[in-house]
């Protein structure tokens, strides 16, 4: 543990920003955007400077600073949607509505909307439409222009039977009840430690250790934060868990609160997950009714409050410290670590911050025991994992699988394999962050160690499959663009480096390759990995470096012969 003393955070003045996004959203609902006069009033009401309002309002793309067009269409252009033809969708919509004036209609590319299993997707305002064709999108936009917005009608599948759920629909919150009947907090942490449960957000930090550190921390105030901001392209498993196992997530958070002594929990959810927000809110309301939440939980004398915080938007908010900054009403810029959130988290107080899946598994493990969890898994790995499979597969979706399952199995048996007549050429085991692996490495398995050894990672289990016809350089460029678009801009390497990398790789896809590019790319990659403040910049080189490593002939074809084997680049390529 570091001996670092944290910078002064969480002072009374800083809390003046608390809840500012709810206020700004309210204004935007009334006016359609954030008029300057209203922002001034927000500053006056809160006793802060106007720059503090503007600096956050201008940071989050969800806020409009000028009156937007009547219909604003955002088409997702990231990995899974890109593989499923979002470029064509975008261009098709653009052509069809080119005559619509700016006041009526704007079309913009958007970052991953979290509908990777139903790509391509788009949003109009707070409505999301997926499995789109140009014709279907056109109809939706037509209706919106007429002032009759169509509600997206994507009904989920029937609730599946999931091994993770210890209750099977019967008597939920039993773990909590048992713990309250015979409080054995240290033993509970012991169970989690024995289970070797790791954080499921991607970093894989042991959960038991994290909870114990917060439990041992001496503080008048502590927090439990659930990170439900999954925004990485291909990552859709938390949406699935929140849809089908909301009670496990909530119970996990309450238990974490009781174990660590935190009285307040915040579930941070991305704003594109409105349906899940409603499901969770209903569950939270039910818990308050049944006295599972609130003061004096189940007459135990212990209390815990839980609320949902809807993200003002952006992938960077998923970075744990950036997420805390957002809750505090600031620009979602990652903090320099150490200090870590376990000691200096939300409002500078000790904070447990875990992924949705981690809280769900924690509940399951406390119900079924560490031995049960360790007995799950195969091929030398243990535990369960929710993975999303999307891209070029027949049945994209989310699956609950034993750790150790190979990627071949995941893609072919769970997700139905590549579309008929097509061969898989590569895949990303966990969205852009894991980099791309070639088809020859499909036999790797869902195992932290195996994947680390292969130079990749299990990550959040966002498997994106690329079949024949995909240009891997184009996929790398797509991933780098995602990071460029989502960079918060705080530190130099990521803010400037991401753009320079996009410039360079765009050049490669258009026939502009310079001999100095390769060494320069390596230098830039080293700089990004080593000097960026947070994971976004550190991982930024992974997509292109993995493609250079595993798909070198394709790269050479582009840079030496100005040829794209997949026929994607060069001609007609938009800069």
């Amino acid at each position: 543990m570091t001996t670092s003393v944290s910078p002064a955070r969480g002072s009374a003045t800083e809390r003046k920003l608390e809840g500012i996004f709810a206020e700004l959203k309210h204004i935007q609902r009334i006016y359609g955007f954030l008029p300057a006069s209203q922002m001034k009033q927000v500053a006056e009401r809160r006793g802060i400077d106007v720059k503090n309002v503007y600096t956050v309002a201008s940071f989050y793309p969800h806020f409009y600073l000028q009156k937007p067009a009547k219909v604003c269409v955002n088409v997702c252009t990231d990995m899974s949607c890109h593989l499923r033809g979002s470029d064509k969708l975008f261009e098709g919509i653009r052509q069809r509505f080119r005559s619509a004036a700016d006041v009526d209609f704007t079309l913009r590319p958007a970052s991953c909307l979290g509908r990777c299993d139903h790509a391509p997707a788009m949003s109009i305002g707070d409505d999301y439409y997926d499995d789109l064709t140009v014709a279907a999108a056109g109809d939706v936009i037509d209706q919106a222009l007429l002032g009759r917005p169509v509600k997206a009608s994507h009904n989920g599948v029937h609730p599946p039977a999931l091994q993770t759920d210890p209750y099977d629909g019967q008597r939920p919150y039993k773990v909590l009840q048992d713990l309250l009947a015979a409080p054995k907090w240290s033993e509970a942490i012991g169970v989690l430690r024995d289970s070797a449960l790791r954080g499921m957000g991607g970093a894989g930090f042991p959960t038991g250790m994290k909870w114990e550190a917060v439990r041992d921390a001496d503080s008048d105030e502590k927090f439990i934060v659930c990170n439900a901001d999954e925004s990485e392209p291909g990552t859709i498993k938390d949406r699935y868990i929140m849809t089908h196992l909301p009670h496990l997530v909530i119970e996990g958070m309450i238990i974490a609160g009781l174990i660590t002594g935190a009285k307040k929990g915040i579930l941070y959810i991305r704003h594109e997950y409105e349906d899940q927000e409603h499901i969770l809110q209903k569950e939270i309301d039910r818990c308050y009714e049944k006295k599972i939440l609130g003061p004096n939980i189940l007459v135990s004398g212990l209390s815990f409050d839980l609320s949902i915080f809807v993200s003002p938007g952006g992938y960077i908010c998923g970075e744990e410290t950036a997420l805390l900054e957002a809750i505090e009403g600031k620009r979602s810029e990652p903090r320099n670590k150490p200090p870590f959130p376990v000691m200096h988290g939300l409002w500078n107080k000790p904070t447990v911050i875990n992924n949705v899946e981690t809280f769900a598994f924690a509940t399951a493990i406390l119900a079924k025991g560490a031995a049960w969890y360790k007995s799950q898994g195969k091929n030398g790995a243990f535990g369960l994992k929710f993975v999303g499979v999307s891209g070029d597969v027949v049945n994209p979706g989310v699956f609950e699988v034993p750790m150790g399952t190979t990627y071949t199995e995941l893609i072919n048996q769970y997700a139905g394999g590549a579309p008929a007549g097509k061969k898989i050429i590569g895949y990303a085991p966990s969205g852009p962050s894991s980099g791309y692996l070639p088809a020859s490495m499909l036999d790797l398995s869902l195992d932290w160690n195996v994947m680390a050894k292969a130079g990749s990672m299990v990550g959040s289990g966002a498997i994106v499959v690329c079949a024949e016809g995909t240009c891997m350089l184009d996929m790398a460029l797509n991933a780098v663009k995602f990071y460029r678009n989502e960079s918060c801009g705080k530190c130099v390497p990521c803010r400037v480096g991401s753009q320079k990398m996009v410039d360079m790789l765009t050049g490669w896809t258009m026939g502009n390759f310079k001999a100095s590019d390769m060494p320069l790319l390596d230098e830039l990659s080293h700089t990004l990995r080593q000097t960026s403040i947070c994971g976004l910049g550190q991982i930024l080189p992974a997509p292109i470096q993995s493609v250079i490593k595993h798909f070198r002939p394709e790269i050479d074809a582009h840079i030496l012969n100005r040829q794209c084997p997949a026929g994607v680049c060069f001609e007609g390529k938009r800069a």
Binding site: N336, K490, V492, L524, T527, T531, S532
Partner: protein, 727 residues
């Protein structure tokens, strides 16, 4: 836990107090670590990443923020670290306008210095596609976003160091930039021009803006020590370095009792701040307007231009008698006795300094005086200084607000009690040139008085905006919206550096309720204006307005129309005009042609009456009937004549005895001309109203010249044939 931490930096064992950053620990032991974003007087943010060091972890640590741990092994200078730093600089250089303004001026841009050191002055990365632009709105600081590296030093300087809290980041990612308030131009933001941001900036993104080509003669005045300046309350909170850079723009001057500081009508570019002593500020020109009168039989020779004051010669348009003359100082002069005193802590000459208007009054030292004379960049610093603002506002509230209000005839009956109340309530607001005060269609929420500068009033018309008025100091606006439907009927914007007094709708309504007579009068004025606006709208909507409006003809009171089929171009009309006005013509036989008519240049009540811009004493104005009137206290500076694009305003010269009296006879003046001082008064065509016919018309031997009303003329034109403009 021990209070000391032991660690190794580049092989050297060091011991530092707990909580010391690696950067500081290294510095204490003379191990230099490069940085761009870190400054000793600001909290660390670790955004430039140049100061990264290897602590044996997965990634490098930013030494400026990372605290030393027990037994830490730190390397500050490995090949890999150097490569990363070099690469970071190369990234920044690719978007940097080398050499930036700072590098050009003083050769000390920190980024460019590092670039040379690391040999990466030429970046291999692609340049930024779209330039990020400059913000030149501040008078003292130039903002060049292209040179900004987002080190956040200015943000912390403005917030942590000076507690002004104006600057923050805006936007996200590669598009992120620094912004003032809500991305306002720096000049119209709440920036107080303390200069701390500029002093903190490592590059040419924030640099000191010198007033080009201007440097106060230091030999005449006493060059000032920055320390001395900083001790003055009006420079409290200003960065010393910033003042140092502006030394040439401020001098201290000593005046002896009776010294003339400047004369009304002089040109200048400075403002004065009184440190010690008092001055007299007054109008030296005799008051009166130029009147042409006939003396009996005959025509030309008997006409005489005379200066006539209000007492001798009441003009019909002077039904609104103004008791005060507004000048370029925080005080108004009484019409009957235009002299005032200013003492220590007072500022005068702001408008001359900011917008280069002629001096509005004569200033003479009443006692021995010490004054600061400054150029606009320093004045800007002072005006934005919180201490000075407070003092200025206090002075204004205590001394000027009352006369200012009372100088508006309608408000002359306000009770002292109510003015006392307003003193506490009003707000003084500054606007930069072009800033919109309110927009036509906005909700009316306040009433305004002009304190400094000019406010342009425009109204939307089919085919473009029409300037209704330029309001100068002493004018008011905003009452129509408050009295009428609660909506602004026109757009008001700042024409130059403008300051207005804002009286809230609440206080305004209270005033209306308390003083029904004022309400009634205001209502009448407002109704008049609304009616005129409606008429004008009807008028301009029914004819091909574009050309009429553009040429400013439609609203003329009277046009001189020459029938070109009859005119022999003998110029008798011009001569006639000159003869009747002491040899100075007010007419030029040139202008716009419609069919076979020439509309000669004479005042035409332009769509955009530029003549009203810049009068330092507010002596030229439009009556509600739109006719131009020049007030008695015209100081003859000639700004209006220069501004009139049609040459329709002329200056009449009068010789003045040393005593200040006018010579009764022109001839007498000529005899003594060497001793006499010439004063001037502006005039525009008065239609020779003392005569049965204007002299130009009278003098035409061919019956080609006619004075007609525009409506008649154009109705005739439009009715009979289609208007043929100037083809």
């Amino acid at each position: 836990m021990s209070d000391m931490v032991h660690l190794t930096i580049d092989g050297m064992k060091v011991e530092v107090p707990l909580g010391t950053t690696i950067f500081d620990a290294a510095r204490m032991h003379d191990i230099p670590i490069p940085t761009l974003c870190h400054q000793q007087n600001e909290g660390p943010v670790a955004v430039c990443r140049l100061c990264v060091v290897d602590v044996g972890a997965r990634v490098y640590a930013a030494s400026c923020i990372r605290q030393c741990d027990q037994n830490m092994q730190v390397k500050t200078n490995t090949t890999e670290l150097q490569a990363a730093r070099s690469n970071l600089i190369e990234l920044l250089v690719s978007d940097h306008p080398s050499p930036c303004v700072r590098q050009q001026h003083s050769g000390d841009c920190e980024l460019e210095t590092f670039a040379q050191l690391y040999g990466v002055s030429e970046s291999r990365f692609a340049k930024r596609a779209a330039p990020r632009g400059q913000d030149e709105s501040s008078l003292s600081i130039l903002v060049d976003h292209s040179a900004c590296i987002l080190c956040d030093r200015c943000i912390r300087a403005c917030g942590e160091v000076r507690h002004n809290n104006v600057i923050a980041r805006q936007g996200k990612g590669y598009a992120a930039a620094i912004a003032f308030d809500m991305d306002a131009p720096m000049g119209s933001s709440s920036c107080v021009s303390c200069g701390e941001c500029m002093v903190s900036c490592p590059t040419g993104a924030l640099t000191n803006k010198k007033v080009v080509g201007q440097h106060l003669q230091e030999d005449e005045g006493l060059s000032l020590d920055v320390k001395e300046l900083l001790q003055l309350p009006v420079f409290k909170g200003v960065s010393g370095t910033f003042l140092e850079l502006n030394r040439g723009a401020i001098v201290k001057r000593n005046y002896k009792k009776g010294d003339l500081i400047f004369r009304e009508g002089d040109y200048g570019s400075t403002a004065f701040y009184i440190l010690e002593g008092t001055v007299d500020i007054y109008l030296a020109s005799p008051q009166g307007h130029v009147d042409t009168e006939g003396t009996g039989n005959g025509f030309f020779s008997k006409l005489r231009n005379k200066l006539k004051g209000r007492a001798d010669h009441q003009r019909e348009e002077e039904n609104l008698i103004r008791k005060f003359i507004s000048i370029d100082a925080n005080i108004d002069l009484e019409y009957d006795n235009p002299v005032a005193k200013l003492g220590p802590g007072e500022l005068f000459g702001e408008m001359t300094c900011m917008s280069f208007y002629p001096r509005s009054a004569t200033v003479r030292a009443e006692t021995d005086c010490v004054m600061l004379e400054m150029l606009r960049n320093v004045l800007d610093v002072m005006q934005k200084n919180k201490t000075f603002r407070a003092q200025l506002e206090l002075n204004y509230r205590q001394r000027a607000l009352e006369t200012h209000l009372r100088s508006v005839p309608i408000f002359s009956t306000l009770t002292s009690n109510f003015i006392e109340h307003l003193r506490e309530e009003v707000e003084l607001i500054r606007y930069a040139p072009g800033d919109v005060i309110f927009e036509q269609g906005d909700t009316a929420d306040a009433f305004y008085l002009v304190r400094i500068g000019f406010v342009k009033v425009t109204e939307h018309y089919p085919g473009g905006d029409l300037v209704l008025a330029y309001l100068s100091k002493g004018s008011y606006f905003g009452e129509i919206g408050l009295l009428g439907g609660g909506v602004r009927t026109a757009t008001c914007s700042a024409l130059d550096h403008t300051e207005v007094v804002k009286i809230s709708a609440h206080d305004f309504q209270e005033m209306m309720a308390t003083f029904p007579d004022i309400a009634e009068k205001l209502k009448a004025v407002s109704d008049d204006r609304i009616r005129e606006n409606k008429n004008r709208f009807k008028q301009v909507s029914t004819v091909p307005v574009d050309q009429f409006l553009q040429q400013g003809l439609m609203e003329a009171q009277s046009l001189l129309v020459l029938d070109l089929e009859k005119c022999t171009r003998c110029d008798q009309c011009v001569k006639g005009c000159a003869d009747s006005h002491d040899g100075v013509t007010r007419l030029i036989r040139d202008g716009l042609r419609f069919d076979h008519y020439l509309v000669a240049t004479s005042c035409r009540q332009c769509r955009d009456p530029l003549c009203m811009v810049g009068c330092p004493v507010g002596a030229i104005r439009r009556k509600n009937s739109l006719e131009v009137i020049i007030e008695d206290w015209c100081i003859g500076c000639g700004v209006c004549a220069n501004n009139c694009p049609y040459g329709n305003i002329n200056l009449q010269e009068f010789a003045l005895k040393e005593s200040g009296e006018l010579f009764a006879q022109a001839g007498e003046a000529q005899k003594q001309l060497k001793k006499a001082r010439v004063i001037r008064k502006a005039t525009s065509c008065n239609l020779c109203h003392d005569h049965p016919e204007p002299s130009c018309v009278y003098s035409c031997p061919h019956d080609a010249a006619h004075r007609v009303t525009p409506t008649d003329f154009f109705a005739d034109m439009v009715g009979q044939k289609h208007l043929k403009a100037t083809d």
